[in-house]
């Protein structure tokens, strides 16, 4: 009996130690030093028979992506395996990357704060000398996709921008003939609409994430002045007056009754309908709102009913916030052939296949020599033309992305004051910056 217990104990200990050692090295599973991490640029239509590329994306279908993949398969023979990561998309993909199970390519938000989470120096191919870069519109070419000076993400469509979507009929009805030229005029227009019995703004407090645009659009001039560099080095915080005042301003606008009655439960779908049909006059949102409108209506209706202008504290400076539909990253899987194939696909996408892609995506082209499709709404063109004088958002310029929107949504629900919002956001930002090992935190 004793011998058999002893034998059992020894076997268990041996098994346990084997498992431990096996698991202990699992942490560094991602990224390989087998290749040097620089993309190799082959001819876009060179044959890739027998190669299968995995492309990670969200669960929503993307007609432009489908088109360019089919075109590439036809041109080179390479096949695609599309992996739809469940929401929340970034989290799902990050989890896979953490265990080393990465796709060859993935749609990813090309901002600094989002790219950092992928540990690009270890996991991504650098796209510094990509062949299509010189053909891009100079206004957007270098606006995003970088960590430091290295380019890790390819921009494929015009970056998303924060701005004001308004209903043209309501503006006419309430006697607003000119777009406001600064924040004070913007609020004065809103007040005028309210005084005449209309609903000036629609906020999707139920969905939470659109709330963060309100403080950010007010910070455009400050961002141009280097606000986010100072925040990144802890010289300024979210609790400093520059940012705190914008949050307090947002709260005071809500308290002044300038927003929709169902602000606490409103969704982005409701928001799009409200502006499109004329229930509310304006909404501060990003390109996602236009996409939502396009999914329920057609270009003609949108062109007839919806206008757009950027707004900032002292002018009309737009704040850009590229989203995960704008960028694509290629992963450093360690297999040289796969990596070259991924790079080749990006090359094909942005050169040979771009015209057909942009037609299928019905989006604004970022290459001056490729015309945007005729079916693109006028709003999309306005947005794209604002990029020349735009400035980056918190997501683009800050080193980390705290959950500002959750705290702002709590403020709308009445459980946090503006000071608490700023405080909670700063604590979270400091925690993330510290995890990255940034000086000053």
């Amino acid at each position: 009996m004793k011998a058999s217990t002893f034998a059992k104990a020894v076997t268990m200990a041996a098994a346990a130690s084997l498992i431990f050692t096996g698991c202990a090295t699992g942490g560094g599973g991602g990224g390989n030093s087998a290749t040097d991490g620089k993309a190799v640029w082959n001819d876009p239509t060179a044959s890739l028979e027998g190669v299968t590329l995995t492309f990670g994306g969200g669960t929503v279908a993307d007609p432009g992506l489908t088109q360019v993949m089919d075109a590439f398969t036809e041109a080179t023979g390479a096949k695609f395996d599309r992996i739809a990561y469940p929401d929340p998309y970034e989290q799902s993909l990050l989890t896979k990357v953490a265990v080393g199970d990465m796709p060859d390519l993935a749609a990813w938000q090309p901002t600094t704060s989002q790219l950092t989470t992928l540990q690009p120096s270890k996991n991504l191919l650098s796209l510094d000398d990509a062949p299509w870069l010189d053909d891009l519109d100079p206004a957007v070419k270098d606006v995003t996709g970088f960590i430091g000076d290295t380019r890790y993400a390819a921009l494929v469509t015009s970056p998303s921008v924060m701005g004001v979507y308004y209903n043209k009929a309501l503006f006419a009805q309430y006697g607003i003939t000119e777009e406001p030229a600064n924040w004070d005029e913007f609020i004065a227009d809103a007040q005028s609409i309210k005084d005449q019995g209309g609903v000036p703004f629609y906020e999707a407090g139920g969905d939470q994430w659109p709330t963060q645009w309100w403080p950010q659009v007010q910070l455009a001039e400050a961002a141009q002045d280097g606000l986010w560099e100072r925040v990144n080095s802890n010289e300024e915080q979210f609790t400093s007056p520059t940012i705190l005042d914008t949050i307090t301003e947002y709260q005071s606008l809500v308290e002044a009754g300038l927003f929709n009655a169902d602000i606490k439960t409103g969704t982005v779908i409701d928001q799009a309908n409200a502006v499109l049909t004329g229930e509310t006059a304006m909404a501060v949102q990003v390109n996602a709102l236009l996409l939502q409108m396009q999914s329920v209506s057609d270009t003609e209706t949108i062109d007839a009913n919806v206008g757009w202008f950027p707004i900032s504290q002292n002018g009309n400076v737009a704040t850009s916030i590229p989203d995960n539909k704008n960028g694509v990253v290629a992963f450093r899987t360690g297999d040289a052939k796969q990596e070259a194939a991924s790079a080749q696909f990006l090359n094909f996408w942005m050169t040979t296949g771009y015209a057909d892609y942009i037609e299928a995506a019905n989006a604004v082209s970022i290459k001056p020599d490729v015309e945007s499709p005729s079916g693109v709404p006028a709003v999309a063109k306005l947005i794209s033309s604002s990029l020349g004088t735009s400035v980056g958002s918190m997501q683009s310029l800050a080193v980390a992305n705290p959950d500002l929107y959750i705290n702002l949504a709590n403020m709308l629900q009445g459980t946090q004051t503006p000071e608490q919002v700023a405080d909670a956001t700063q604590k979270q930002f400091a925690q993330l910056a510290q995890a990255q090992g940034i000086d000053g935190f």
Partner: protein, 329 residues
């Protein structure tokens, strides 16, 4: 094979020792054991290596992650850099100075208590309702057990749709009351936690019902007859005879409901995602959010804290319930 002292069994009356020694004499009773090795023979009724595969699976999928939980909580593991270094108590310090963990813990405790209470009340009521073995009752028991088998995420999504301001529940209420009802059941910062606990209790009440039914059926008939003869009505019998005798079932149900729902995640995530304003953010959702930001070590520390809290709760609760059992039975 254990033989009770007062049950006449082979050889038990033969040669009972002077002074009434209670030491079981297996040679007398004749229990077969490999080689008849005396007092330990009872434990060798089956070979111990039958258990090793199960132990191996338990070790890899339960023991190992728990141990690693202890290890990683003291490191700086995150998505932002390679390599994992020990940082001592830093994660615990920063979590407790932050205070969010304590808020999430409080929400989780409230949630667990509500679910334990409601699940047992519903389950017990159902067990009493479907106690008799008629065809309808047997079919109904099966139907009420179906929610237990459905995925919690599916239930969460269905109820989220039903409880919308323009959803089915408000539609039914509106039809009954004759006016438009637009209550935001999942939008109240005070009461939504109660609504979500009701959804969770609804899902699991079938299981509680089953355990209570088994308990009710195991009450000896002669006790109930005696109560009836003594003139006790249905309610009196329930209160003074049946409920006390259900103590083991109560122990099991309360313990599993309370401690199991401390680990709750799926239903809450699917219905409210922790909202509105994080008033239903149970600790597991907070951990999920932290993990999503790439702060893996902090998330592990929080799971460790949850683990310790559950253990701290489990011992007193189970001890108290078992003591009640022994007192009543």
């Amino acid at each position: 094979m254990t033989v009770l002292k007062d049950t006449p069994g082979p050889g038990s009356l033969r040669g009972k020792r002077q002074g009434g020694s209670t030491r079981r004499d297996y040679r007398r009773i004749g229990v077969p054991g490999p080689g008849g090795r005396g007092i330990n023979a009872e434990r060798s009724a089956y070979p111990s290596w039958f258990l090793w595969p199960a132990f191996a699976i338990l070790a890899v999928f339960f023991l190992l992650p728990t141990v690693l939980n202890f290890v990683y909580a003291f490191t700086n593991w995150s998505a932002y850099h390679d390599g994992v270094d020990f940082v001592g108590w830093q994660n615990f310090e920063s979590l407790f100075t932050n205070g969010d963990v304590l808020i999430a813990l409080r929400t989780t405790l409230i949630w667990a208590v509500l679910v334990a209470l409601l699940q047992n009340v519903f389950g017990f009521a159902l067990a009493l309702f479907f106690e008799r073995d008629t065809r309808i009752n047997r079919a109904s028991r099966a139907i009420f057990f179906i929610p237990v088998l459905i995925s919690p995420l599916a239930i969460g999504y269905i109820f989220q749709a039903l409880l919308k301001p323009e959803g089915a529940l408000n539609g039914i209420l509106g039809g009954v009351l004759g006016q438009t009802v637009t209550i935001a059941w999942l939008g109240d910062t005070t009461w939504t936690i109660l609504v979500v606990s009701i959804v969770q209790s609804w899902k699991w009440m079938g299981l509680s019902m089953l355990i209570y039914l088994a308990g009710l059926k195991s009450i000896p008939d002669d006790v109930l007859e005696a109560a009836k003869i003594d003139g006790a009505g249905w309610w009196r019998t329930l209160r003074s005879v049946r409920f006390p005798l259900l103590a083991p079932a109560v122990t099991f149900n309360v313990a599993t409901a309370l401690l199991g729902s401390m680990n709750g995640f799926d239903t809450v995530q699917a219905t409210t995602k922790g909202g509105p304003a994080q008033t239903t953010e149970v600790l597991n959702i907070f951990i999920y959010r932290t993990f999503g930001q790439g702060l893996y070590a902090q998330a592990t520390t929080m799971s460790l804290i949850l683990f310790l809290v559950v253990i701290l709760l489990a011992f007193p609760i189970i001890w108290a319930l078992r003591r009640r059992e022994k007192q009543l039975l």
